[in-house]
Each structure stands twice: as structure tokens, then as C-alpha cells.
Symmetry: C2
Subunit: 195 residues, 2 copies
């Protein structure tokens, strides 16, 4: 299970269609019922495939849920305009525009919240979803630190928290995030992280 | 249902004990099973009371859950040292120390995430939990703006997002928040909001 999906998902068109149907069914059911009530049987029914078709691809419900998230949250663009702050801001705007106001975003958030209660889900989420995305962002931040554009006395993790945190918190509390609001928060947060 | 609890909860000791048992049972079950699988029957059993005892106090599961959160998340202290930024930082440190590393904090977060799927839960949560706490924080921020300590070109909401967001985001992604990390993030975030 990687960002590119399991090998089977890159196989014949029929395999890709089945994978897509399973991913869509998983997201729909997560949105409607939540993680606790999700079953492989219900996913199979919604996707119009047999249960063995799901089980042959995914060891269990956690593997299925994390695969669905990995497939759904679009791979991050990695712009390089030479200005790391500018690149990070565009990355964040892009991410918010595609996720924060969609049902998928709410689902991703709910799965994160559930992970605190389910260590196996948390481990899979960290390995296959969080870490690959974090690595890209941290590379960009370190570039900015080397170029003297971002504060070197903060860790890349701190800088990510300071830039993305206000957006995610606003969205968590208020349930939406208009484009103007996103830019205003990023603009203000920039003061905290620039050298 | 207010910050002080329903009138019945302030009545005779026996009533307060029952209320406390119901709140504890609700939090435990929310932590173990999550919102989706919480039932009034299970809460009554865990609290050692009859179902009618719960129903006479709470119209439904949502009222029960929000009451449990209101009772559990400690009322915010409102220090006034004359320096609004200092007061806000102490408020945040205090809040994080008491909640972020406790199971209750994880439960509060999970209920917030569920609220996106349950409009009635969201409305109750907003009215009884979020708004009273937000009002206190916004009063403090407006004081700081009037005294020229905090930026006036940002809304109190923006300032709250910028100061609290990095902490909550860090906690959401990494699952913990050490005291030193809390202060480092607040210190950096201060740059974004001070006049």
C-alpha cells in the first residue's frame, strides 16, 4: 500500500475499476456511518463486489480505510518558485481548496480522531498517509531554512504546525474555510515563521 | 444545560452524585466505543442507575454528550495581568496541560469530528460548549486590541485561530504535546498576532 496504490490497482482496467469502486464505497460509508460502524461486508455490498474481492486486497478494515485516504487525498504538488514561503502557502491554499470544503475532508478528520482509540489504525495512518506527505513538506521547509527564508531556530515540524494549524483549527471549529480567510490566516502566520 | 450544569445537578448531594456518575459513564463509553456506539442504556448500566433516571435529565443522547463535555472541560480561568498576550498564553498552557494529554481531550476531539455528520449535535455543541468559551477568549483578545497589545487588523477569531491552532494541530497529528513544545509554539505564534 503506497501512494501509488497496491500493485493490483495499477493492473488491468477491470482491477482499477474495482479498486476505485471499493475506495468510493469506503469513503461514502465512512461519511455516512463513521469508522466504528464500517464493515468490510457493507463496503463490498456498496461497491457491488463480493466480500472475498475486498479481502483479497485488504487484510482488514484498517488497511482498507488507510488505502482509501491515501487514494483520496490528492498527492501534494511540489512547486518550486525559489521562495519556500510562497511555495508553502500555495501548497496550503491548494490543499484547503480541494479538501476542507468537501465531505472527504470531514472524513479524513474523523479518521484521525478515531486513530487515538485504535493503535493499529494509527500506525498504518502514520506510515502510509502522514509520513510521505510530511516528508515532502519538511523538504520544502528545510530548503527555505537553508536559503535564509524561514527561521532556523524552529524545527520543520514547528513551522508546519504554525502555518497549517490555524487553518485546520478554524475548519475544525467552524466547519468551513473561505478562500479569503485561508489567505488571511496564512499571511498572518507567515510572520511567525519567516527569518 | 449551562456551564454550571442543569439545576438538578446543583440540588441535593444525591442528585449531584447521580449526575457525576452519568457524566463519568458517558465519557468512559465515548472513549471506549465512540459516539456512534454510545447508547443511553449503556450509560445507565455503567453509571449504575435506571434508564429513566438518565432520560428524566437528558432529552436524548446529544444532550447527554454535550452536558458531559461541558462538565468535563474545566471552565476557563480568566486571568487579568494587564497584558492580554501573557493572559492568553497562560490560558492556553493551562488548557493544554489539563486536556491535551488526557483521555478526555481525545474524546472532546472525537465528538467535534462527529459533529460534522450530526447537525443536532453540532448545534448543541456550539450553543452550550463552544460559544461560552469563545466569548471569554474573545473578550480577552478585544481588551488586548484596545490596549494596543494585539493586532487590530485581525478579528478576535483570527487571533484565536493563530494562537491555538498550532497546538491543536500538533496534538491532532502527533497525539501529544509536551509543556516545552506548547510554550515554543505559543511564543512563535505570538509574532503573528502582536501589534
Amino acid at each position: 500500500m503506497t501512494d501509488q496504490g497496491k500493485p493490483s490497482a495499477r493492473g488491468r482496467p477491470r482491477d482499477r475499476d474495482i479498486d476505485q469502486a471499493i475506495v468510493s464505497a469506503t469513503l461514502e460509508l465512512l461519511g455516512e456511518r463513521g469508522y466504528a460502524d464500517l464493515t468490510i461486508g457493507a463496503v463490498a455490498t456498496r461497491a457491488g463486489v463480493g466480500r472475498p474481492t475486498v479481502y483479497v486486497r485488504f487484510a482488514d478494515k484498517n488497511a482498507l480505510v488507510v488505502h482509501a485516504l491515501v487514494q483520496t487525498v490528492p498527492p501534494l504538488r511540489t512547486p518550486d518558485t525559489g521562495n519556500a514561503l510562497h511555495d508553502l502557502i500555495e501548497l496550503a491554499v491548494d490543499f484547503v481548496a480541494r479538501l476542507a470544503n468537501s465531505p472527504a475532508g470531514r472524513t479524513v478528520l474523523a479518521v484521525h480522531a478515531e486513530a487515538g482509540r485504535h493503535p493499529e489504525l494509527e500506525a498504518l495512518l502514520r506510515e502510509h498517509y502522514l509520513r510521505p506527505r510530511e516528508r515532502l513538506v519538511h523538504d520544502l521547509i528545510q530548503q527555505g531554512q537553508q536559503r535564509g527564508q524561514l527561521r532556523e531556530d524552529l524545527t520543520p515540524e514547528d513551522i508546519q504546525d504554525l502555518l497549517c494549524g490555524p487553518l485546520i483549527y478554524h475548519w475544525l471549529i467552524h466547519g468551513d474555510l473561505a478562500d479569503g480567510q485561508t489567505r488571511a490566516l496564512l499571511d498572518a502566520a507567515s510572520r511567525a515563521i519567516t527569518a
